[in-house]
């Protein structure tokens, strides 16, 4: 528990630090003329949206991915313990193990969305305006942070649910308890989707 708090804090701070770095390096010089020179030296004034878009892609995949890996890992250990005693219960345990896996998939969906919409896949990302790129980065934050945290806490409910399976043979309401945590990942996914598709790339 304490370990996870520390870990989550480090991960989120790292992402914010990345964002600050991005902000420093990805700011275009004022003016907007790509050929502008300062004191004779040429200034790189091309749009830096691609850095932000790539950062967004990373955040959307990395944070929920970590959360789901942790969560599935924890639930998997509990499930293996029950299955070792009674292999017939492994089916019910598998359901619980897979529940925290969804956050990583949601993150993957958003990462793919950003890759498609920002033009990372088609290569047009190099012309992405800095502000638009930054919007993609912000869009990755809801699913990134909520995915990480909710996968961990959902996994704790799942482990308790596997306890129900061990004692009673089937999960029953345990599945519903675990699904309750998922709502927040789903809400974050919705907001992330709305933010990504709302970026006016072609405007």
């Amino acid at each position: 528990m304490k370990k996870f708090r520390k870990f989550a804090a480090v991960a989120i701070i790292a992402i914010l630090a990345l964002a600050v770095c991005g902000a420093v390096f990805a700011e275009p010089a004022p003016g907007g003329d790509p050929m502008m020179t300062v004191g004779g030296a040429p200034v790189d004034n091309t749009p830096k949206g691609y850095i932000w878009a790539a950062l967004g892609c990373c955040v959307a995949m990395i944070l929920p991915g970590i959360g789901s890996a942790l969560g599935v890992g924890m639930a998997g250990r509990a499930a293996a313990g029950v299955a070792a005693e009674d292999p017939e219960k492994s089916g019910a345990c598998l359901m619980f193990e897979l529940l925290p896996a969804t956050q990583g998939l949601y993150g993957f969906v958003i990462a793919m969305f950003i890759a498609v919409f920002s033009g990372i896949l088609s290569g047009s990302v190099m012309n992405l305006a800095t502000d638009l790129g930054r919007s993609f980065f912000y869009a990755s934050l809801p699913i990134g942070v909520v995915g990480l945290v909710s996968a961990y806490f959902q996994s704790r409910v799942c482990c308790a649910g596997i306890g129900i399976v061990a004692k009673q043979g089937n999960g029953g309401m345990g599945i519903t308890f675990a699904i309750m945590v998922e709502l927040y990942a789903i809400l974050a996914l919705i907001i992330s989707i709305l933010m990504v598709v709302g970026v006016p790339v072609n405007a």
């Binding site: 993957f108 969906v109 029953g172 519903t176 789903i186 919705i190 709305l194």
Partner: protein
């Protein structure tokens, strides 16, 4: 629909007891409960006859349970050698007689297996012992005299041990008599003479020189000869170990006997369990339990056929009794009882929600999966599974839910989804009329539509609740607590949608609903509490709001399916483009790799999304829908019957 239960008390001759129990089990009509004594036998002490009977029944149960456990253990021991049962292999068919009669045969196999295992254990421990002797003897293989010949003399004893060759000089210096033999390792075997007079001194010198005494097994021969003897014995042990292992493996051929025997033992165990609940006098026995009201006649007929001499009393359950719940639904709805039972079976005096839940379940399941291609695959797989494997109970119900869910997915994939992650208009051009609602392009419309559908489900739940309350004569709850909200919603809807003078009707409904809610919501309390309670009811609006918003998950899950599918298509496409560059074979290789990738990734996507849709959809029913009207807390009707695992009983 919940089938009412009848309580039965049966009295019959003890001689007919086994026949009756067998007939009851074969027909599976009665759930037997412990004889409760509210019948004519009330007040009767547990007579010696009754006590004897119960004790013998319990002994029999213990025996049958032992049989089942032994066969089960044998099966799990042989599991690795048994032929694999495929996903679509139907279990063999057998009748009850065959199953029960193969129990002794199966127990015989268990005994054989047990003996073989014991033999294997003995062989293993013998081999371990030999290996230990061998390890101890090996360093002394250079000793060319029989160990039995080393005996103390009158004045000295002898010690055999090991020490480093370079330390032998120390013994020479101290004047100790010794004999060194050829070394078979890092240290040489040394036989030292220890004079009785200087025993302590000599020993300390020896130990100081790094001499360690030999700890040899009890042998008297020459070590080298003994070693070869043990080695040949070990070889023969290994051979017989291998033979035993093969014999155990060969027993796996009798796996079918074991499976039949286990099913037979489980049938007998169930009956023995039920017999423990009976009550008996010297000549008669009594049985109490529950029977479905629509099967009561069948039960009477069965009893008349098996044991004409009997007395039976069939009556409705009394108010303080909790009968089991049995729901009877048509072939289409019956599998969806599984969903309800996941939450809790309905109260036996309540209302079976399966029929009013199923349409919503299928609607939201289809929207959450939202991919026609996936729907087609799911339906085909489920149909094959049902047709070939003929699953029973839970697995059969889930397979049927997936079949119907797949059909619903096909429809809603066309209306508001994708085909294997591809957009319909990418496939068929911009003029293709489907999907009618594209969550990718028009997110807000999709979210609002799905939440509106959810709101519709909640309204239906409230109407059902009103009907149920009125049926129970509780018109106050129906009108003040639920009807008032419906009026508020209807009024608000009219105000929002209609502009003509009709909108005054809306104001009227809204006002009336609010008045009823605030005025009578707190009717259970008196004075100030009543007014506060009434206004407190207004706070329920947050509950409605969060329930409706909960349906936005339908949008997210539906979109996630399509997006995941299209992402996987993209991945396969990239792989194909990369491999196309390979000269000559590029075309073939890229096609094969891309096809394999697509197959694996899409199957994964179907599995994950179907799991998500199944569970999230069930949750919407439990929390948002059932909370409005459902009374849980029943216990499922479990009649004494034939419940097998490996064989289907004809």
């Amino acid at each position: 629909m919940i089938v009412p239960m009848k309580h039965i008390s049966l009295f019959a001759r003890k001689d007919d007891e086994r026949r009756i129990m067998k007939a009851l089990q074969e027909n599976g009509v009665v759930q037997i409960e412990r004889f409760d004594g509210d019948s004519p036998a009330e007040g009767a002490e547990l007579s010696p006859a009754a006590g004897l009977f119960r004790a013998s029944a319990q002994t029999e149960l213990a025996e049958k349970a032992n049989d089942a456990a032994a066969i089960k253990a044998a099966l799990s021991r042989l599991n690795a050698y048994l032929p694999k049962v495929g996903f679509l292999d139907a279990p063999p068919e057998a009748d009850e007689e065959t199953l029960v009669s193969s129990v002794p045969e199966a127990l015989e196999v268990c005994r054989e297996l047990d003996e073989l295992q014991k033999k294997q254990q003995a062989l293993r421990s013998q081999a371990e012992k030999h290996n230990a002797s061998l390890k101890a003897l090996k360093p002394f293989s250079g000793v060319d005299m029989p160990l039995g010949s080393i005996r103390p003399t009158k004045t000295a004893g002898f010690l055999l041990g090991l020490m480093r060759e370079e330390k032998l000089g120390l013994l020479d210096e101290a004047g100790i008599m010794y004999d060194a033999f050829p070394a078979a390792g890092a240290r040489v075997p040394v036989l030292a003479a220890i004079p009785n007079a200087e025993r302590e001194q000599t020993l300390s010198i020896l130990h100081g020189a790094g001499f360690t005494e030999a700890a040899l097994p009890d042998i008297s021969g020459v070590p080298a000869e003994e070693i070869s003897l043990i080695e040949s014995e070990l070889a023969s042990l290994e051979l017989s170990q291998k033979e035993t292992a093969e014999a155990i493996e060969a027993l796996a051929e009798k796996g079918d006997i074991l499976k039949r025997g286990l099913d037979g033992a489980m049938i007998e165990k169930a009956r023995a369990e039920a017999r423990c609940e009976l009550f008996s006098t010297k000549e008669t026995f009594a049985l109490t339990g529950w029977v479905r009201s629509d099967e009561a006649d069948k039960l009477l007929r069965i009893l008349d056929e098996t044991a004409p001499t009997h007395y039976i009393e069939v009556r409705d359950p009394e108010d303080d009794e909790q009968p089991p719940t049995y729901c009877k639904n048509s072939k289409f709805f019956a599998p969806f009882e599984f969903i309800t039972n996941m939450y809790s079976p309905p109260d036996p005096r309540g209302f079976d929600p399966t029929v009013v839940m199923t349409p919503f379940y299928l609607l939201f399941f289809g929207l959450m999966m939202g991919d026609t291609g996936y729907g087609i695959l799911m339906s085909i797989a489920a149909a094959l599974f049902i047709k070939l494997r003929k699953p029973k109970k839970g697995a059969g119900q889930v397979a049927r839910i997936i079949f119907w869910g797949g059909l619903s997915t096909i429809v809603f994939g066309l209306l508001a989804g994708t085909f294997f992650g591809m957009n319909w208009y990418d496939l068929f051009g911009e003029s293709f009329p489907f999907p009618l609602l594209d969550p990718m392009k028009d997110q807000m419309t999709a979210i609002i539509t799905y939440c509106a559908l959810g709101f519709g489900q909640i309204i239906v739940g409230m109407i059902i609740s009103i009907v149920l309350h009125i049926k129970n004569g509780d018109w106050q709850t129906a009108l003040f607590d639920i009807g008032s909200w419906l009026m508020i919603f209807a009024g608000a809807a009219i105000l929002l949608l209609v502009k003509s003078p009709v909108k005054y009707v809306g104001w009227g409904l809204l006002g009336l609903g609010l008045l009823l809610l605030v005025g009578f919501g707190g009717r259970a309390k008196k004075g100030i509490g009543r007014i506060v309670g009434g206004f407190g009811k207004l706070y329920d609006i947050t509950g409605f709001l969060s329930d409706v918003l909960s349906y936005s998950r339908v949008f997210a899950l539906g979109l996630a399916t399509g997006a995941m599918g299209s992402a996987f298509n993209l991945v396969a496409g990239i792989a194909r483009d990369m491999l196309k560059g390979i000269p000559v074979v590029g075309g073939v290789v890229s096609f094969i790799v891309a096809a394999a990738l697509l197959a694996v990734l899409h199957v994964f996507s179907i599995a994950m999304n179907a799991l998500g849709a199944f569970i999230h959809c069930a949750r919407l029913q439990f929390i948002e829908y059932y909370n409005r009207f459902y009374t849980p807390g029943g216990k499922l009707f479990k009649p004494l019957g034939i419940d097998t695992k490996y064989n289907n009983v004809k």
